[in-house]
Every structure is written in structure tokens, then in C-alpha cells.
Symmetry: C2
Subunit: 248 residues, 2 copies
DNA sequence: CGAGGATATATCGTGTAGGATCGATGGTAG
DNA sequence: CTACCATCGATCCTACACGATATATCCTCG
């Protein structure tokens, strides 16, 4: 990796122009820090189980501790880190069989509804965005081992975008927020990465295609069923690939 | 109200005894502040739409701004407050028709599953705890208007405990956390309170009784159906009582 | 008299410093 | 070798400071 990747933008970026005022409201620093920490957790720079040093993080990101505190507080409420009374934060441990079961149970309950609603009147932007994720997931011809990392990453990213796009298109903001808050792609990415295996790209892409087809055809029930199948098969695939877990 | 109710516990509560050490880890100040703010939001001391002044809150609770910041960050990720770039925090506005629809859609998807799992092998503690909430919801003979407030409050509290107990008994921690994170009782309490009406206690209690009966009988599917009915009827009741909302 | 702009205040965002407390490591005495 | 104690490190909490911004007030001009 190329160092901790500081966030800090240059200080004197404010010109003498009276009012540049391009963006409506400048984005909060806390938001950047939040994304950066989530990134580090996803990339296993902050491995599961390790303790998170707030000051260290603040130094690395070249910000003060305040936005780090706020980000960690939010990450804790989302379950990515755990806080113990006077022991600081620790990255949530790798999910075990039970955790995965819970995660996929919720996804199986929620995502078909998202697909159903999204298929009622899908916008062109949704369809094109879903199509582009399918392109991103396309299997490259061959890759040297060091490229595996990036390929795996883009695959997970595309998968995440696919599901989030459908959730967004459902029109149900709470549903989308809830699904996003589970951070399933973060958990699964870490899990796959630790297990050293890649997900079955072709099967996933095939199921995504089926969902997309149902959405394009505006068949809500078909889309819901396809999504349910997809989530269930994903669950099975994850269990099959990470058999370091006891079934109850 | 009786003033802002400071949180601060006495400072010199540590005795000379070598190791009192009763509680494993003393509870974090942030946790108390979080609960206090949530309480104020629920009680409409912080009304929907009002801006939240961090310094003011810190002064009222007699703590510094840091735990207030952390609590607000968490509350924001849970949707109870909203943060805008340089405008501070605002209490999330009263839910409109669309928000309620989203909320009950998710509850309809999730809570039947919780009831189903809870009914598989319910513990005695679950049953007794559910029974006690039914007692708390029992209709008092009569009440002076100023008592209405407290009765309404205990009713909502009992309802919340009932649903959370089932979610907890489902064994699915993520499911429980997700349901709790919606803060539906906070939203509904505020909504009822503003509308100046009370929920239909008897109907709610009756449906709760049906759910409890199914759980006691260990009939998961019956429990799930009863829960689904309950959520759907609750939705209808809320819509009927707060018709300041347009259906799309 | 009304509208537009400039000033002023309160508040937010962020950063830094320091005191207090808890856990841990290492040394010393028995 | 074991038990106790002291120092050290880390973290939590608090307090304060500075720059930036939004809202409100007031003034000027048409």
C-alpha cells in the first residue's frame, strides 16, 4: 500500500475570488474520515479484532481526533467496530456462521421487496447503471496474481453497486438505508479475502442478469423471486467457501 | 417539565475500599447522553424540525460537547436527527405518509420472521416478560387529562418492550438491532402526541394476546401470521388517526 | 416607501492541550 | 518462584481557541 493516504485537502485552496461557491454546501470532513476508515476496515489495513487507536488514525489521516470520534461513533452504531468501556474501539471480528446466517436472513427478507418495487417502473438510469455493473463484473481473460486483488475488489464493488441501485430504485429510502447499514459487502469482502478465494463470478453475474431482465420486463414478482433466489444462492456459496464454521 | 435533568453523577463516588469493582465496566458517559437526548426527542422537548444546539445541550446535561457530538453522530446514523453541512443538527421532521409507509413496510417484512423464530422454543422468561407488558397495557379505569400523558407513555413503552422482547427471542441479533434502530416507537409516540390522540389500546392488546398465544403454543407460522396482521393493522390505525397525509 | 446590499452576531466546524482514570508491564521483596 | 507495587502508556473526557458561515439587522439608494 502507499501509506495511510491522508485525507486533508490543501489548506489555502480558497482563492481571492469573492465567491467561488461552486458546490452548494461543502462536504463535511467527518464524512471523508468516515469513508476513509471504512475503506481501511474493508482493505484489512484495520484487521478484524485489532484495536483502533484514535490518535493514530487521526495522525495517519492528518485530521484531528474530533472527526475520527464522530466517525467511529457512527461505525459503532452500524456494527463495524465495537466499543468497550475504557478499552477503546476494536474492529468487529470476522463474522462466524451465525452472523452470516443472520445477515443473509435479513437480506432474503428485504431485498426481494426492493427488487419488486424497483421493477414496477424502472427508469432508464437504473437499467443503464445496472448494465454497467454487469460489465464491471465481466470475467477478464487472465490476470497475474497481484491483479487478483484489484479484480476481486472491483467485483465486490460492482456487486454492491448493483444491489444498492435496486434498493435506491425501490423508492423506499429507509429500506435502502437499512440494507446499506449492514455493510454486507464489507463483511463479505473481508471474509473472501481472508479465505483467499474468489466468489463464483459467473454464477453471480448470471443471477444478476436474471434480475435485470425481470426489471426490464417490468415484472415485479419475477424480479422478487429472482432476487430471493440470488440471495439464497449467495448464502450457500458463502457457506460453501468458508467452511471454518460450525452449523450450530 | 422539571428542568433539563442533568446527567452528571457525583464525582467522588469512589470509596476508599480497595476494589469495589462491582460492575464490570462503568458505563460510558456517551451512553447516558445518548439516552438522554433520545428521551428529549421522544418527549418533544426537542420538537421535530427544531435545530439542536450542541453547546446548549452540553450545558443542560452538564457534560462537555464531546459526548454530545458522539451521541448526535450516532443518532444521525439512525435517522433521528439530520445534519446539514454548516447548519448543525436538526431533529428529523415528523414522518409523513411516505415515511410511515416505508417504516411499516420494513416492519411487515421483518417482524413476522422474529415472531416465527421466537415461537420455536420460547423461554419462560420471554413468556413472562410478554405477559407483563400486557399487564402494563391494561386499560386503567379512568384518568384525569394530565394523567393521559403518562398513560400514553407507558402504553408506548410496553408496546416497544413487547416487540423488542420478541426480536430478542428470535436469536437473530442483527434483526433485533435493525428493528431497534428504526426507533418506530419514538416516531409513533411523537406522532400520536402531536395529533393529540391515543392509540386504540384494546385492539393492540388483543393482537398482542394472539401473538403471545401462538408463541406459547409453539406454533411459528401462526405467530408469524399474527404478527403480520398486527403490523398491518397498526399501519392502518396510524393512517386512520393521522390523516394529515396525502396518499401519494 | 420598498428593495438590495453590507455589517454584526451567534453558531458551527475543527483543532489542540491537558487532567483524570484505567490497564498493563516490569521490577522488587518475601 | 510467587505476590505485590510502581511506573508507564493509552484512552476518555473536558476545556478552550480560531476560522468560517448562516441568519438577522440596519443602512443606503432608487
Amino acid at each position: 500500500m502507499t501509506g495511510p493516504a491522508p485525507i486533508r485537502k490543501e489548506r489555502n485552496d480558497r482563492l481571492d475570488v469573492t465567491r467561488p461557491r461552486a458546490l452548494p454546501g461543502r462536504q463535511m470532513l467527518t464524512a471523508s474520515v468516515y469513508e476513509a476508515i471504512k475503506e481501511q476496515i474493508m482493505d484489512l489495513e484495520l484487521a478484524p479484532g485489532t484495536r483502533v487507536n484514535m490518535d493514530q488514525l487521526a495522525r495517519d489521516l492528518e485530521v484531528s481526533t474530533t472527526p475520527v470520534r464522530e466517525s467511529l461513533a457512527r461505525l459503532e452504531s452500524e456494527g463495524l467496530v465495537t466499543r468497550r468501556s475504557l478499552q477503546g474501539y476494536t474492529v468487529t471480528a470476522q463474522p462466524d456462521w451465525s452472523d452470516l446466517h443472520e445477515l443473509f436472513t435479513l437480506r432474503r427478507l428485504l431485498e426481494p421487496e426492493a427488487a419488486r418495487e424497483a421493477a414496477r417502473e424502472p427508469g432508464d438510469d437504473l437499467v443503464s447503471s445496472l448494465r454497467s455493473t454487469l460489465d464491471d463484473m465481466a470475467e477478464p481473460s487472465s490476470a497475474v496474481p497481484e491483479e487478483q486483488y484489484r479484480r476481486h475488489r472491483t467485483f465486490v464493488e460492482a456487486d454492491s453497486v448493483f444491489h444498492d441501485a435496486i434498493a435506491a430504485a425501490s423508492g423506499n429510502r429507509l429500506l435502502r438505508r437499512t440494507l446499506a447499514g449492514m455493510h454486507s459487502h464489507v463483511l463479505l469482502y473481508r471474509l473472501y479475502f481472508e479465505a483467499g478465494v474468489s466468489p463464483e463470478r459467473s454464477a453471480t453475474a448470471e443471477e444478476h442478469r436474471a434480475i435485470l431482465a425481470a426489471i426490464v420486463d417490468r415484472q415485479p414478482e419475477v424480479a422478487a423471486t429472482a432476487m430471493r433466489d440470488h440471495v439464497e444462492r449467495s448464502h450457500e456459496r458463502v457457506l460453501g467457501r468458508t467452511s471454518a464454521l460450525r452449523p450450530t
